[in-house]
Symmetry: none
Subunit: 118 residues, 4 copies
DNA sequence: GTGGTCTAGACCACT
DNA sequence: GTGGTCTAGACCACC
């Protein structure tokens, strides 16, 4: 994985894992690979990987059992708020752009509906 | 106005005028300034301006009355398709982004509604 | 009962009986089992048990009636001072700890009241 | 400083600093020494010290300004809850001990009052 | 100077 | 095996 040098690697890794959870690549309750495996996979140091995981646990995204492994939370609320967190920027950018071209709320909504129907 | 040298100027002028129409800066049915005035305003050759206007007329965006001047079309359909043309990219980018995070169509719609309500 | 080899057994037996009195396991005025029974119960020599009892009597914790048996004192003052003797360490440790964290007397009192109310 | 090998050093350092804040050794709003200085003072690695400080910041006990340093919070509430947090164990241990010897709530309170008067 | 992050390699407790 | 902690030493961004 390629990292943006201007933002901490462990944050980027967290985002990557969050995205996997939100998209269902990592199912709820599923076991997350060990930090050692993940550190190799992401090509980072073990400590960096551990930091990413401990932060994720603190946020309630995963939970950990000593000597066993980490698991994706089964709390639907957490996953839902994850989605909200990750799409907030997209939505704002879109709506601002549309309003900038002169679209009203109803027009924006209608446009989205039409686009989704395709 | 500053032009991108890689794309024909008359196209850029057309886009500028379309945007004015779409955003309401130029109201439906409103008279467009003369090509002479516009050519000075945009800092381009009279021929270039004329080309832009004739293309706009061909697209039905404006219509011309001999000896009177040019006017923005009053056909709502044309204006609406203009909007579509200009926002297509935004919508696609947004929807693809949302789907990439795992949102379903209903979720996307709901999210937009919520964001618009704010 | 298991004894600490570094402190005289008769003292440890005395403490055990005192604790029983203080906690109410041995009620005020209740008859204490005979030294013979107690010596077996504690697994110690009869002399050791006798020493413990005579010391307890000397302290006024129990009193003996020839040919009848021994009884826990009915003097509330004695029992109260027993409690004091046994809890003195706890109180000092607690108050020193609290002052070490910077609590004032009033704060300590208030904290205890709150904790007791729970 | 001497550390208990069974509990993470960074936690012990956090407790030490919390205690300094609670007792007023570190005044509210006062600047905390740099992590480098502190790491030498405590005789631990820079990373360990940094972890202790970042956890303290997360708990709101200190706040940090990049390139400037860290400062004790000025929020009285935080400091007060710190006190509660640190004395909770002491109080519980004390009251349980007292009740174990047979003291009633009133007796405990009275005993504390007497001990404080000394 | 300050705090923040990353790597490399080690040891520990738990299962 | 697992996660958790610690050390040593390095580089970066900020002020």
């Amino acid at each position: 994985m390629k990292f943006n040098p201007t933002v901490p690697i462990y944050l980027q890794i967290m985002d990557s894992i969050k995205k996997d959870i939100v998209t269902g690549t990592l199912a709820h309750g599923e076991r997350v690979e060990s930090v050692r495996v993940l550190s190799e996979k992401f090509g980072v140091n073990l400590n960096t990987m551990q930091r990413a995981c401990s932060e994720l646990e603190r946020e309630g995204v995963i939970y950990t059992q000593r000597g066993v492994g980490s698991f994706v939370t089964e709390d639907e609320k957490v996953v839902h708020s994850l989605k909200q967190e990750m799409c907030g920027g997209l939505v704002d950018e879109f709506i601002n752009g549309m309003r900038g071209i002169g679209f009203t709320n109803n027009e924006i909504l209608k446009t989205v509906e039409e686009a989704l129907a395709k």
